[in-house]
């Protein structure tokens, strides 16, 4: 089985054209790979570029330099230079993502928000809803909320919807951006269980966890992102 994801020499900076074109380097020389059945954790202080790295791997941020090779449908694709259409196909089939915040759509129920990635992959809507119900029950989201649009939910409730949406599919790669930030201890433990199940199923996980206990429980390997600080490369 090929390595699911290999990142080599990736660099990212922001050019602020509205601020006289100043350039804010974020990371440089980012190189690592992740393995199937393992949870790799990006470590380092806030502002080190952890989220930016995840967003580049999801195609949400553009990449200035380097390659992101992902194993997708019996082939290898360089996400750093892929067409929008290819990135969409990779998101549908290969890379899942749990973001920090839920972007809600007006009038769509929590259940359908969660079922959507499965429906996009061709699953029958009712079967997808069934799977969504099971996940919401596991994450202790009160049943009376399931049919409501999540826009008015509390932070912790929205995050559980987000987690369910990310974990519902069988993407071989799963990116997690602080999935437990606003959860209580019980639900943190549920997420730890969900991550363990993904590992057992051979999924390659890459995440950011500020919560020390969660990180201890799930991490197989920690990558220190400060090693990719833009200044270090020149030195």
């Amino acid at each position: 089985m090929p390595t699911p994801l290999v990142v080599s020499d990736v660099a990212k900076s922001f050019t602020m054209h509205l601020r006289d074109g100043i350039k804010l380097p974020v990371v440089a020389g980012v190189s690592f790979s992740i393995k199937a059945g393992e949870c790799t954790v990006l470590g380092g202080p806030s502002g080190a570029g952890k989220s930016s790295i995840l967003k580049m791997l999801y195609g949400n941020y553009a990449v200035d330099e380097g390659q992101i090779i992902v194993s997708h449908e019996d082939g290898l694709i360089d996400l750093a230079n892929a067409s929008p259409r290819t990135v969409l196909a990779v998101r549908r089939q290969t890379i899942g993502y749990v973001s920090q915040f839920l972007r809600t759509v007006p009038r769509v129920s929590a259940l359908d928000v969660i079922a959507e990635p499965l429906v996009e992959r061709g699953q029958e809507r009712e079967a997808a809803r069934g799977r969504a119900r099971a996940l919401l029950a596991q994450l202790n989201l009160p049943e009376k909320l399931w049919a409501l649009p999540p826009a008015t939910f509390s932070g912790g409730e929205q995050q559980r919807v987000n987690i369910a949406r990310g974990f519902i599919t069988e993407h071989p790669i799963l990116l997690l951006d602080e999935p437990t930030a606003s959860l209580d201890a019980t639900n943190r433990d549920v997420v730890i269980e969900l991550i363990a199940a993904k590992k057992a199923a051979g999924v390659a996980l890459l995440g950011i966890f500020h919560d020390h206990d969660v990180r201890e429980a799930v991490a197989d390997r920690i990558i220190d992102v400060t090693a990719f600080a833009p200044g270090k490369l020149a030195a």
């Binding site: 050019t15 509205l18 967003k55 949400n60 941020y61 553009a62 929008p84 759509v105 007006p106 009038r107």
Partner: protein, 258 residues
């Protein structure tokens, strides 16, 4: 997934005398894809939409469309009759002002039924049943079927226009500011409706809007236009979350936060 695009656009330009309408625009559109074209007024986005929908002929460039038989046809080489047929059957055009896309003095049911008759449907009962079905899909009560759109609110008219366009099962829909001029609550309902229909029917759509929130909600891909040129294009969330071109950064930073 189909490996061939539905629409191929290459170096499309439209000049009004020495003034630039749109300049050297190229892109491919695949089935099921929604492309948002954003930019301020005068950026050329409506000119581009009108050229693509053959309501306007470009000064230069080509656009070819994959017909239902799988063959690509050059849009600007078709006869007027062929283009009109395409417009009536395989395409839809949702105008910003519903009065431009509806017949205001015939009933709601007839507005929907007319497009069906254009594709050869003749059975009155069947046409009426389909019209009722489509009105309910766009959330218009069955008992309004015999009312004229003149008696409808702005949001209802827009939903009726959408029903009229989608009833023939088009594969490509053009939309010009589909939520422009509507109240925010009506807008949200319409967007949600459009989003559902586009996903369920697997439509390809080109949506012109100056509203980045509309683009984010409806489209997977986005083109940003300024002075007739495409200054940036890519995945919608990439363009909005990591804008690269100075003009896109200005647009994104100008969004009011609520």
């Amino acid at each position: 997934m189909t490996d061939e695009p539905l629409l191929r656009v290459s170096a499309l330009s439209k000049f009004y005398g020495s003034r630039v309408g749109c300049d050297n625009v190229s892109f491919d559109l695949w089935p099921g894809e929604v492309l948002a074209v954003v930019g301020e007024s005068g950026s050329g986005k409506t000119t581009l939409l009108n050229c693509l929908s053959t309501r306007l002929l470009p000064s230069s460039g080509t656009a070819s469309y994959r017909m239902r038989d799988g063959q690509f046809r050059e849009l600007y080489r078709m006869s007027e009759a062929e283009r009109r047929f395409l417009m009536r059957t395989d395409w839809g055009f949702v105008h910003q002002n519903p009065a431009d896309g509806l017949r205001m003095t015939v009933s709601a049911g007839a507005n929907v039924g007319e497009r069906l008759m254009a594709v050869g449907d003749r059975h009155y009962g069947k046409i009426r049943a389909t019209a009722v079905d489509w009105l309910s899909r766009v959330e218009i009560e069955e008992d309004r079927i015999d009312d004229e759109p003149r008696a409808f609110s702005g949001g209802m008219r827009q939903r009726l226009q959408i029903a009229r366009n989608l009833v023939t099962g088009p594969r490509l829909v053009f939309m010009d500011e589909p939520t422009g001029g509507l109240d925010v609550s009506v807008q949200a309902r319409l967007l949600d409706l459009l989003r559902g229909l586009v996903t369920d029917l697997g439509l390809a759509a080109i949506v012109v809007t100056h509203d980045l929130a509309v683009a984010r909600l409806l489209s997977q891909r986005m083109m940003v236009m300024k002075d007739g040129r495409v200054v940036e294009s890519g995945l919608t969330d990439r363009v909005l979350d990591d804008p690269r071109a100075p003009y896109t950064q200005l647009l994104v930073s100008s969004i009011l936060q609520v």
